[in-house]
């Protein structure tokens, strides 16, 4: 379930006191991201608003969404991996209605530079847009 996956991430994150350790964790998470399908590496899937490059694509498997993502920067890759892990398996409606408040709990936004925080906001906006596009009219 979505809430369980959020709790799991919050739990793992809280194991680290130091931000450097949290970055190590994000870097490992980023490295564990499955290879990004080259067919998805399009201009359309490139997220604007990030200093580093971020690609995000969605697949709809009988009403359940799964995301694939990539970035040329490792920490950003870790952040997008975190989003992919939490939100893959959701229905489009679950994502469209989610408040993404767990990102505040993680303290990610205030610990990223303004451009990065902008990047994170752009990632969340893209995730929501992709989900909304999957909702059948």
């Amino acid at each position: 379930m979505l809430e369980d996956r959020k709790e799991a991430v919050i739990g793992e994150f809280s194991l680290f006191d130091e931000w450097l350790d949290k970055y190590e964790y994000l870097i490992e998470l980023g490295k564990s991201l499955p290879p990004f399908p080259e067919s998805s590496r399009t201009e359309e899937n490139l997220i604007k608003g990030c200093q580093s490059k971020v690609w995000l694509d969605v697949q709809n498997d009988a009403g359940r969404l799964s995301f694939v993502a990539d970035s040329d920067a490792l920490i950003t890759r870790g952040i997008i991996a975190l989003l992919v892990r939490v939100y893959s398996g959701c229905t489009p409606a679950e994502i469209a209605e989610d408040d993404f408040a767990f990102l505040d709990t993680l303290g990610l936004k205030e610990n990223l530079s303004p451009t990065r925080a902008g990047g994170l906001a752009a990632m969340v906006a893209t995730l929501k847009r992709l989900a909304r596009e999957q909702i059948q009219p």
Binding site: E18, W19, L20, Y23, E24, I27, Q51, S52, K53, D72, A73, L74, I75, T76, L112, S113, T115, R116
Partner: protein
Amino acid sequence: MMNRQDLCARFPQLSDTVYGKRLVYLDNAATSLRPTDVVQTWTQMSLHHNANLHRAVHRTAQEATAFYEQTRDAVRDFLHAGAREEIIFTSGTTAAINLLAFSIGETFIRPGDEIIVSEAEHHSNLVPWQMLCERKGAVLKRLGVDDGGRLRLEDLPALLGERTRLLCIAHISNVLGLVNPIREITDICHARQCMVLVDGAQGILHEPVDVQALDCDFYVFSGHKMFAAPGTGVLYGKRSLLERLCPWQGGGEMIASVSWEKTSYAPLPQKFEAGTQNIAGTPTLRPAIEVLESLRPTEEQAITEYLLDWFAARNDIRLFGLPDGKTAKIPLFSIAVEGAHHEDLALILDKMGVAVRSGQMCAEPLMDRFGVSGMLRASFAPYNTIEEAEIFVQSLEKAIKMLR
């Protein structure tokens, strides 16, 4: 060089901590730290000498005007300008360049004229010229840099044509940290009746500037990059040229007399200082200059040599802006690290207390020139020490290890 204790007393931010670690501030090319002397002047001007300048007869206005105009004299001396009328106060480098782009454009530029801009310019010394060329149907030409980032001066004579009116160049590039040969450039350009504008945003903190020795027609810089208050800046221009240029903004102090039929403009320097001046900010240029001069000699040369040696020994790090026998370098280092993204490095260094810049540094065409998406930049100021350069190097090594 002052000892660290004196430096910290002068620049309190030097003793700040971030994430419980000593702050090592190496983003000086973006803005410098501010000394207490500047803040005191700023406060005094705001709390005790606040009155509008030049016109009122009352005592406070006279005092405020005196402080403001004494600052003009201090800047004239600092730049070795010929006359105080050649010093125009602006809100910064960008405002000064935009002022010139308008006034030079209206006064001198006709369709088909040419303006040369170097390839290593900050957007602020490129975009205003692009806008001018678009407005006037003029042609923008590019003076390139070689693979080491050094200006291709040998290309300049061929670029200069009958219609070339102006060349715009940084004294020191904010990405490459190389000192451009301004005097050589002005000699070549003046022989072909081409004016030269020097963007001194980076130069002013690191090089003693003598505008008469450089023989540049215009030299502009920002206060906040040389310890003074933000929103302050200087435009130096040769008097003969400033007198010919039409004003940029109208209103306030820039007029001699106004009527419905005909308005005449104030003489220099007021002609270019429309509206209420930065009453509290501009006078901080004076203590800023005094502090800067009191810091010399600095450890900058030693820092530059130490880091040049260190980077030269790392074949996994590409350094942009390589000095040679002819071209000097200031302690400003933009690099690309193999297998480590500039943004990751900056983010990790931040958590170690080291403040550096990552990204395109307001110089996208230069990033394209070198085929990179961005760079990591560490830029030192005259108050930085070898010890801080060592902390930077140790932190960078750790950050690289984390990312591989």
